[in-house]
Symmetry: C3
Subunit: 461 residues, 3 copies
């Protein structure tokens, strides 16, 4: 016992440990943020968002109360790669009245009733002439579907198949009080963390009108992640938060910042469909083994067992959200997506049924916790170096060896200490070591702290 130690260790002796502890605390309190996120969603839900216009602008204003957004504007008609920024769309009212003067379809009941980007119209039509402008979802006959037509000018209404079936021959008055005028596409970003550090991208899209899981859960969770990550100690990555309309948003953003992203992004995720209680679903980045992917998969392997069903998908370009743009071959960014019920796979998707009842505080808090664990994994996944690598150190000297016994029953932390000493050779990273012990990387924090305190271990990267 050359250098006895008491039990109190200074776990903050290296920033890795300080950061890891800070994440542990955030995860422990994740559940209490569920209701808060639900309230934010209730506030945002009624707004009629689209690619452009007052609805998405107001949404950015509300997010901006929490996140200091940088707001980038691109004018109608500007070219962004293969695309052209469309006109700005605004809408005041829309309805279909029957000959009795009853509003049988009313934008004020749900903004899903109007096809997004509908041109203005005021006319009277027979049911036969109206019908090509009415969209339904026959497989989900009670739902109003969500339809848009951004790049082809048309007008239309969405209603349930049940309602369509009940319409009688009549002369209908059709009114859409919308405008399509030159204006701006808006894209927002925000950053935290050390300057000049590699970046983690947290991207979400905000252009859907009253739909809860896909997509409001995304911007609301991303806002909460901004709030929490701002309070984490000793981050080594910087975090770039992206709020923008889908598809043309990231394309326009990459036309401005694409080279920066290519050189700086270490990992990233598209946050959407994170509010329901479905199984966790991970869609890999196109690279398939990026830091984003291995970190998310590591986290998922160590989710509490109640979430036993986990879905892992290789990248696919024929469905999904903005990961399709970030992963296009010209950028090929290491950006995946962690979701709950996957876009396009659940019955309520893109309909009036994906409403505030479909999401829950519990679902939101679970997703929050999962994303925090991913970021913790990314932050912790460094290379350590055993400073006394020739044979095992004499652990008793450092107070790190248990008392005598037939087969000293090593507590977990003792096992982690031995694994860390064995594999921390400057080559293996901490995730690889955690995988060898078959535990999450964040289980190693205590052992790392003790080894660092005993001057047996140091950072190697």
């Amino acid at each position: 016992m050359i250098n006895p130690k008491n039990n109190s260790t200074n776990l903050e002796s290296i920033p890795l440990v300080s950061c890891a502890k800070s994440f542990d605390e955030a995860v422990e309190s994740a559940e209490m943020h569920g209701n808060d996120m639900m309230e934010k969603m209730e506030r945002l839900f009624p707004i009629c968002r689209s690619l452009t216009g007052a609805g998405i602008r107001e949404t950015f204003n509300i997010i901006g109360e929490t996140v200091p957004l940088r707001r980038h504007k691109i004018a109608t008609g500007e070219k962004v790669y293969d695309w052209t920024v469309p006109k700005e769309w605004n809408i005041k009212d829309a309805y279909i009245k029957n000959s009795k003067g009853e509003k049988i379809v009313d934008f004020n009941k749900t903004n899903l009733h109007v096809v997004g980007y509908s041109t203005p119209i005021r006319t009277k039509l027979s049911l036969a002439d109206l019908r090509p402008h009415l969209h339904t979802l026959p497989n989900v006959p009670e739902a109003v579907p969500y339809i848009t037509s951004y790049y082809k000018e048309r007008w239309g209404f969405c209603l349930s198949q049940n309602q369509l079936d009940s319409l009688e021959e009549d002369t209908y008055e059709v009114v859409i009080k919308s405008t399509l005028e030159d204006g701006f596409l808006e894209l927002c970003d925000a950053r935290i963390g050390p300057e000049d550090s590699p970046e983690i991208v947290v991207a979400t899209y905000c252009c859907h009108p009253s739909i809860a899981n896909n997509e409001l859960s995304g911007p609301v969770l991303t806002t909460k992640l901004y709030e929490i990550l701002s309070g984490i100690n000793d981050l080594r990555f910087s975090y770039r938060f992206l709020f923008m309309p889908e598809t043309i948003g990231p394309i326009a953003y990459m036309s401005m910042f694409g080279e920066e992203l290519k050189s700086q992004v270490h990992a990233g995720y598209v946050v959407s469909c994170v509010g329901d209680d479905g199984p966790y679903t991970y869609k890999k980045s196109r690279r398939g083994n990026s830091a984003a992917d291995i970190s998310a998969l590591h986290m998922l392997r160590h989710l509490p067992t109640e979430n036993s069903e986990i879905l892992i998908h290789d990248f696919f370009p024929d469905a999904g959200g903005d990961e399709r743009q970030y992963n296009s071959p010209g950028f090929n960014l290491p950006i995946g997506s962690l979701l709950r019920s996957n876009a396009g796979t659940y019955r309520e998707y893109h309909t009036s049924l994906d409403n505030l009842d479909f999401v829950s505080a519990r679902g939101m808090a679970g997703s929050l916790s999962a994303y925090l664990r991913i970021f913790q994994t990314l932050e912790m996944n460094r290379k350590l170096l055993n400073i006394k690598p020739n044979g095992e150190p004499q652990l008793g000297k450092y107070g790190l060896y248990p008392g005598p016994g037939v087969h000293p029953r090593f507590e977990d932390e003792m096992r982690y200490i031995l694994y860390l000493l064995c594999y921390a050779d400057g080559e293996n990273d901490l995730m690889e070591i955690a995988d060898k012990v078959e535990r999450p990387i964040w289980a190693l924090t205590g052992a790392i702290g003790k080894l660092a305190d005993a001057k047996l271990m140091e950072l190697a990267d």
Copy 2:
């Protein structure tokens, strides 16, 4: 809608598409070649072939009616690597008569009755003295086996075990009217396709007497492949067809053209045992992952489901045909073999039961179709480049985007278009992209054509 397109696309805008379409047509009409191939086999069946002599020469003459063969001759006694070209063997008649003058074994009934390369004999023998010269196959007692003795001079007869068991003590007259004289070994080849292109080898052997599946099905299918491939548009590979006796044939051929083959062969196949209805069997080249192997396996993964049983073998040197020579370590050519019932594994193999009843027009046509799909796979497996790789292109501009809907139900071709845009980065080849969509490479032809027409895609190799 900047650049609207009508639906008619010029699929021939790139040679890849033209070639692929041409193969599709050939495959569609494969079935109608079955009877034609059966007729050719019936004509060739009775000829008494061997390594050398009149039988194989006549066989080459018949093949030569369709394929413009280059015929190479090597004289008896010449050295080819470790081997020496044997004498030329010819036979006019052979029989065994009992003391009543009855021909109990008669070469004119089936040429399998005589051991190949039997020396001439005319003598009378007791049953006991005759017996060491009589060969049977006890496990298949009704069959006359096929036996040769090319490199050790002996004589003998083959008969069924049943017949042997019925022979009585007697004095037998034994006659073999054969000659073994200096002459020539003959090897034939033919080529189609562009000069100086990498080559696909289509090799078969032709030295077995009256045996249908192993081996006549091989030269007959190879002849048909020559005929069809000659009519395919825009081939980028050249094809070398090889017709020769087994074992010493390819060894002698490689002693003449081995260096040429080593530098030019991209892939190749030994065609044999392709006439029955057994499951498709693929024997890999010694390299194990050559272009020949991955193309054949790709094709087999996408065979119509009725052919669900598929056998895949790593290369083995202790059974099989001429792939043993092409894959010998001095050459190690990327040559595998696609067969139906594998040589040596079926009861009728190398006996009188492997006759014209054992093969069928349907079996031959199926194998023809399978080989055509392999060659199509090889021809199509190129690298493409998405010309607008930053984000997805605005497909609506090119008429490539379906109308509005909740979740636009992408038809197959739309999916292929998105996969091609995503993965055609000049690194992935088309087979890898097809594997990601889980479809055969030839399913992508239409999508490739449309993208090429829209100037969104070009060849990258």
Copy 3:
């Protein structure tokens, strides 16, 4: 038949074959060494060994009767990496007497009764005061556990839980006649085989008192391996045998010879727990795919089927023996361990139940045979070159081709010949070729000899 051969082949034409044959003979006679090893274990069993002192010294003397040991001494107080050589411990007697004068715990019954490295003591204590010095194993209540305290000075006794439970309130006389004085740590090695050759390490530890499987079986088997390997013909590796106390032994040895080991060791094994009849267990080296690992796994794949249960473990640093030191990241030597019942996993481990009844001549002989096959695998695993690689050689010329037949029924050796000719290209090693034929490497000896005699094959490394 240009160059006919008779059947007698000179299998010793290459040293590889001579060495392989010599191993075959050793394996064939392995069983007869079982009793001999049991006798050696009986002689060594009663000795009270520890890290230092008379017991281990006497053990080295007995091993030294067979193995010409080089004995290295390191003085108390010397530093070896992070460790310091402890004092030398010797003990003459130890007991606990009750007030009736009865020895209720007596070192002379089993030396396990005293905690290893106990400080001297002579005192009288109440049961309450004695109790903290009494160690038992509650889960195995009839066993006396094995306990040491090398680096923290204390004294203690070990007894069964059953006995502890029967102790009555009393005044006990406690005597330990031990000494802890400056002295020496001793480490022993021995070598055979060609000078300057890469080395195989055969390491074992010898510091446990009366425990049979873990560990006496180790030094006894290692001694026998020395004896047998000394008689093997044409070894190409040299063998370094290590006998030393556990943990500090290899650490001290590596502080002296670590650089030599790093540059010379090709493979190695820690020999321990090899005397019982449990399933074979292989613990890989930290590298996971070292020559030690692939050779042991090859051997295990070809163990006779009665040993069907085989346990394979990736390296783990939190249990086991000296492989933990050899594989520490500063050395990372390619040293694994083949055991029977794995240390720490059987009920008798580190107790008085791991006695001479727990091991057997059969168990020892089985382990001997397994280790010999591993060394044979290492010795044989060379690269050969087919001298006539262009096509198959005409095997008939060399008397290597069987007579005529429908499908010449190749005996095993004929198959090996064809595989060797095909794959002996100077790239594949013999283990890879053996794996392709799905046979152990030592099955190829005859075929290699015949090919070498026919001048068709030569060594390529």
